[in-house]
Amino acid sequence: MATLHTKNAARAMMAPAVIVLLIWMIVPLAMTLYFSTLNYTLYNPFSTPFVGFENYSYFLTDPTFLAALANTLILVIGVLAITVIGGVLIALLLDQEFYGVNIVRLMVIAPFFVMPTVAALVWKNMMMNPVYGVIGQMLSAIGLTPIDWMTEVPLLSIVIIVAWQWLPFATLILLTALQSLSSDQKEAAEMDGAGALSIFWYITLPHMSRAITVVILIQTIFLLSIYAEILVTTQGGPGAQSTNITYLVAQQATSYGDIGAASAGGIVAVILANIVAIFLVRLIGKNLDA
């Protein structure tokens, strides 16, 4: 597979994708970097004096910045935990023999097709509303006080909504992984005297580790930039309890109209994302030989 000819061809074939992505990354990034040094607000776009690092110090000293950072991590980790653990369990369930397995499968994967905004609207209004929401009404029906999700546990609410959307994704990948486990290995373990739990722990779970890594990688990419769900439900509040970095940046742009600060925030977010990326690459390096 490796003559000079094919190597050159390969380079040429890769070039278009790499180039467009490079442009897509560099042009806005350069503009963002440039804007991040200007005092540029949407309400006065004509006078944009150069202010150096002021936007950065403004963004980084934002009293909600640290909270947003923490929330971002909680959001990502929380959703990952729910989807991976839930995904494994549901995958195990779907791998069993039972009546209507196909229908249950369809029901389980359905949330994956729902737009994030719709998911957030439906959950916020029809599930989690303390008075009209189904959850609230069910709690009332059994004599409990309904939880006011969006104010009492705003971050958890968002984690739940996002996890609901991503659970099918995790489930599908993990199910495929599960089904690809050779029956030989399970049988060998059975012959070796392992019970169902031991088989799961020593054989099945390690077998799925690669799939789990992929789930983590892909989801992290999407979870770092959660925005619509927050906008629709809590708008980052109460206080900054459910503000993540992305939302914080968005707020600079949309509610303050402060493009300078938003750009600085964007750059900060890119740096943070890259730190996460490096971490992820470390994590998956051995598990994902590309």
């Binding site: 050779s182 030989d184 290995q185 049988e187 060998a188 373990a189 059975e190 012959m191 070796d192 005297g193 392992a194 019970g195 031991s198 020593y202 054989i203 390690p206 077998h207 580790s209």
Partner: protein, 341 residues
């Protein structure tokens, strides 16, 4: 101990009967080889014994105790899979230790046994590697290691060498034979390799479509095949089976003569023929000879180099006393009577 008796064992997948009523006694310490064409039920039978499949009917008795309903783990058998089924995420040590860990054995004892097994199988040097970093032969040994640490009542092997290359296969074959001599544990071994079956077995079980065609020692099967199926199946290259006039000479429906039991000459003999293909291995020469006595070419083996080539005329003389006679149903006939001709 490792006595395994199958009594009227029957296995059907849905409506398809794979094994119809099979009886088989395997005595303690025997090396039993199952052979048979692909799909005849060898693996299924092994899996029934292991407990990885339920029998549809009948009983499996291990050491005098009914094991039909026992789960695999409780039968005290160890299995070596064709794919080896090593645990890819565990080191060699952990792989071998796994059954012991599952049995709840204490750490020190496990280590002792694993080390011993590893030494026996020459695996010490690789003990911390993962299976992915081992060669085929080494993997095979790990699979065996995992089986022997448990000191099982019997070993079950399902075509354990079929994934190895020819040279390695010879080596591993000898290793398994030696292992059997050393451990004296019952072994049940599935293969479709002639040489393995002949060289390793104390007892060969020839299966066809779930039925036992013949059970016996390798040489018994070689010298006295019970029917044409076994005759054709055991021995390589295959026995030449002739019908028609030649068979009638021997008052049989079919006669069989092995390639190594035909004398070759370029000048004279019973059957005249033309060489279609000649294969010169140095140590042997195989000739595929077209002859009026049979519509398919006859295979003949000569020791050493026999310098004939495609198109040459040769004469073949079967060794009279090595001729096998079969009746209309393909069953072997008692004595090898001389040709009347």
């Amino acid at each position: 101990m490792g006595q395994i008796h199958l009594e009227k064992v029957r296995k059907a997948f849905g409506d398809v009967v794979i094994i119809p009523d099979l009886d088989l006694k395997i005595e303690d310490g025997e090396f039993v080889v199952f052979v048979g064409p692909s799909g005849c039920g060898k693996s299924t039978l092994l899996r029934l014994i292991a407990g990885l499949e339920d029998v549809t009917d009948g009983q499996i008795v291990i050491d005098g105790q009914d094991a039909t309903e026992l789960p695999p783990a409780k039968r005290g058998l160890a299995m070596v899979f064709q794919s080896y089924a090593l645990y890819p995420h565990m080191s060699v040590r952990k792989n071998i230790a796994f059954p012991l860990k599952m049995a709840g054995m204490d750490k020190a004892e496990i280590d002792k046994r694993v080390d011993y097994a590893a030494k026996t199988l020459n695996l010490d040097a690789y003990i911390d590697r993962r299976p992915a970093n081992l060669s085929g032969g080494q993997r095979q040994r790990v699979a065996i290691g995992r089986a022997i640490v448990r000191e099982p009542k019997a070993f079950l092997f399902d075509e354990p060498l079929s994934n190895l290359d020819a040279a390695l296969r010879v080596g591993m074959r000898l290793e398994i034979s030696e292992l059997h001599q050393r451990l004296k544990t019952t072994m049940i071994y599935v293969t479709h390799d002639q040489v393995e079956a002949m060289t390793m077995a104390d007892k060969i079980v020839v299966l066809r479509a779930g039925n036992i065609e013949q059970v016996g020692s390798p040489l018994e099967l070689y010298s006295h095949p019970r029917n044409t199926f076994v005759a054709g199946f055991i021995g390589s290259p295959k026995m030449n089976l002739l019908g028609g006039a030649e068979a009638e000479k021997y008052q049989a429906e079919t006669i069989g003569i092995r390639p190594e039991h035909v004398r070759l000459s370029t000048t004279e003999g019973s059957w005249k023929g033309t060489v279609k293909v000649s294969e010169h291995l140095g140590s042997d020469t195989f000739l595929h000879v077209e002859s009026p006595v049979h519509d398919e070419p006859l295979t003949v083996r000569a020791d050493g180099e026999f310098p004939v080539h495609a198109g040459d005329v040769v004469y073949l003389t079967p060794e009279e006393d090595k001729i096998h006679r079969f009746d209309g149903e393909g069953l072997a006939m008692k004595t090898n009577s001389r040709a009347v001709a």
